[in-house]
Amino acid sequence: MPDPLLSVEDLTVEYGGAVRALRGVSLSVEAGSVVAVLGSNGAGKTTLLRAVSQSLGSVGGRVTAGRVRFDGRDLARHDASAAVRAGLVQVPEGRRIFRDLTVEENLRAGGYTVRDARARRAATERVFRLFPILAERRHQRGGLLSGGQQQMLAMGRALMTSPKLLLLDEPSLGLAPQLVEQIGDIIEQIHAQGTSVLLIEQNAAMGLRVADRAYVLEVGVVSTRGSSAELAATDEIRDRYLGVAAPDTDHVVQDAPPAAAAHLQRSTPARAQELRVEDLTVRFGGITALSGVSFTVGAGTVHALIGPNGAGKSTCINVLGGAYRATSGTVHYGDAAVTSLPAHRIADLGVARTFQNISLSLEASVEDNLLVGRHRVMRTRTSAQALRLPRARREERAERAAVRRIADLLGIAPLLDRAVHTLSYGDRKRVEMGRALASEPTLLLLDEPVAGMTHGESAVMADAIRAVQRELGLSVLLVEHDMPFVMGLAERVTVLDFGKRIAEGTPREVQRDPEVLRAYLGTAAA
């Protein structure tokens, strides 16, 4: 048997010398095949692709063990440019086209390593044949293309070097169903023209449709591998992406101190109110991220927002938190019109949030990060603090005590003095949750609170969310991929797909909805 085109052996990748993103991952891509890597957000898929394309350095990652062989050569100690020249090109997640360059210039940048002008022209012609729409719009700026066209441009740009192996990072992200189909067809065409493809997908249906073989990546390790047909038939894939099986109960960890929650007290008598989202639409440039979405989160309930990657969930949270502006539609929290307020005023309404990719002050201690959450409830002015007046010191003491109670609840009290950058990923997630709780919210927006966590960690998190929700009578709006987590926690679920609401109901109702099954596993698997 000849050497595979790409072989990844026992690969371990660390970020900043502390966080391990991949542990002993091995996979191989035979020449002329399409291989898919499936996995949820935070599983390490993109890290894997970056390790292969030698572009980890720009995000601070480092291969600490294992190796990557491509076409018989060890790529270590080469840069991304050498990898491209060797015939290996990556299409990054989110397309990342050059928005200010025209379509033609984008392609030209893609073909930068092709020195021969004739070969470059031929490659351009090939791309235009593959994507006729790009030929029509060759003089338009990339930023004006629609999402699907941008994905085509991103793929066409990568094809300019006529690579032996194409690495695709979530090509279906945020595309309408018929476009996903089309992208699938194009991948098959590219494959037919002799290019091997390594594809990363969260859309399992799409991934399994085009791939010969697939790997499932789970928190940095390969959990399952096999031919696409085998995998599509396994229950594990169905569980993983739909949470069809009942949530495990044996993973509940005993360490979560349930009594701690009793000490959490509000300093204001604010009560949770109803959150009404009505006909919300958000557009960015040529892309519609949300269109006409409506749902209501009842006061004091846990509501989940689910959907495949790119469905518009995070966009929705960002509008609710004030980070993005709505193009049209309204959001009301109680009587207040959230959509017309800046972010800090929304926070004043009692809305707190966490971020998908964690946004903490890395150099500051955990305690200081949590205290930032108390900003809203603290009252002393800068001058009083500068002079350390008695009331400022009293308040500071009281707030530190309050923060300690929150830390106890989340199990991070021993870490209070540590700088955040020394913490593990899961701990950082909990610190961020703590910061949100510290502001005494009545509505908590959680953007993927357990992404990248192990089952044990996410169970602790679920208990914590449940506990504070009960204790404080919060409303919680939750965006998550981890289906068992969502199903065990949420009272109602809204399902988004391609920016539209496709279903809503109790977890049980939603799980049975044919639309939802289709969105997650594709018509084939439903």
Binding site: A347, V372, G426
Partner: protein
């Protein structure tokens, strides 16, 4: 106990500074005054640049404003420049207040721009201030400048007069000696206030704005106002620093407050380590003292040519060392002097409550955290790295 150990270096430094006038000659006293004035400005700037992440190259203008405010408030109207004859203590306070107000007037820009963009915009302030200093002759004395009334409290003047003769433990205390203690007091107060602000609700909010404006806004922090607040606070510091400079010089002119002063302030805090108050003081001392000492003692350094002979003279060497120090610190010394000192302390394994304890590699399981590997986490999110 740790409380005492933490305070010990500060107390020791303060005591040493208080003892110095008994030992130093006029040159060193004068140098010390310039240094202490710079320390105050540097502390203010490190709150802006180090804590809030906002760059300013305009602090010379606020120092100028403080200096002229003091001179105008305390001076009497004479033929050359106007004054209103307030008590000097009030003048010193007013210097900080007026500079703060000017900083607040700049908030439409300081609240909206961030980082180096603000730094570029503030360059304009230096030239604007210079234009005003030269043209508002009635208050400033124009290009020639104006003299500055010595600092005094009723019955005691921080100059060579009133009392005309004062000796402590056998050392005659002239104006320079007396000013030394005034400056020392202001420096200690400025450091104490700065440290409190840094560790307070406001300081944490500023750091959060620096690290991620989106996250800050989501915790209820008014981002634009926070940035403007940082700018106002550091403007006030610069104003007081300017008033101290005025006292140290005894006479002020527009030339003292050029772009070079802004750059010097910035270099001080970078050498010292951004965000560190002790670092700002150390950086200020380095920047102010190095050229003076090299020039003063150049004849004792055998490799230096005498000035004007065309070889490497002291002033040129001082400039070269100054530039090289900046480059070397930025290339090799992460976190400046304060960062290096912190690492040294940690290596000696002394607990230091000022800093979070050393960063051990993620432990193999603390408390409830089954510390599994964690995928896809750059240690610095994109927002913090920009």
């Amino acid at each position: 106990m740790p409380e005492i150990r933490r305070r010990l270096p500060v107390v020791a430094a303060a005591l040493l500074a208080a003892a110095l006038p008994f030992l130093l000659d006029d040159f060193w006293l004068q140098t010390g005054l310039f240094t202490m004035a710079a320390v105050v400005g540097a502390i203010g700037l490190t709150l802006l640049v180090g804590v809030a992440g906002q760059l300013s190259l305009g602090h010379a203008s606020f120092a100028a404003l403080g200096a002229y405010t003091y001179a105008w408030a305390v001076g009497e109207t004479d033929g050359r420049a106007a004054g209103i004859g307030l008590p000097p203590v009030l003048g010193l306070v007013l210097a900080g207040v007026v500079a703060a107000v000017a900083g607040a007037l700049f908030s439409p820009i300081s609240g909206r721009l961030r980082g180096i963009y603000l730094g570029l915009a503030t360059i304009g302030l230096v030239f604007l201030a210079r234009h005003l200093m030269v043209n508002l002759q009635g208050a400033t004395g124009g290009f020639v400048g104006r003299s500055v009334e010595p600092f005094s409290v009723p019955g005691f003047s921080f100059s060579n007069n009133d009392p005309d003769y004062l000796a402590v433990a056998g050392v005659q205390f002239e104006g320079l000696h007396r000013l030394w203690y005034l400056f020392l007091g202001v420096v200690l107060l400025a450091a104490w206030l700065g440290r409190n602000v840094k560790a307070s609700r406001t300081g944490r909010a500023l750091a959060n704005v620096r690290d991620s404006e989106t996250a800050a806004a989501s915790t209820g922090i008014h981002v634009a106002r926070a940035k403007a607040t940082a700018f106002v606070i550091s403007s006030a510091y610069a104003g007081v620093a300017g008033a101290l400079m005025a006292l140290a010089y005894g006479r002020i002119a527009p030339d003292l407050f050029g772009l070079q002063l802004s750059i010097d302030f910035l270099v001080m805090i970078v050498l010292g380590g951004l965000g560190s108050i002790a670092g700002a003081a150390a950086g200020a001392a380095f920047v102010v003292i190095l050229p003076l000492v090299l020039t003063q003692y150049s004849s004792d350094l055998p490799f230096l040519a005498s000035p004007g002979s065309g070889g490497l003279d002291a002033a040129t060497l001082a400039r070269l060392l100054y530039g090289a120090a900046i480059v070397a610190v930025l290339l090799f010394l992460r976190g400046g002097l304060a960062g290096a000192a912190g690492r040294l302390r940690r290596r000696r394994a002394l607990p230091d409550p000022d800093d979070p304890p050393p960063a051990p590699p993620p432990p193999a399981g603390t408390g409830a955290s089954p510390s599994a590997p964690h995928p896809d986490v750059p240690t610095r999110s994109k927002e913090t790295s920009s």
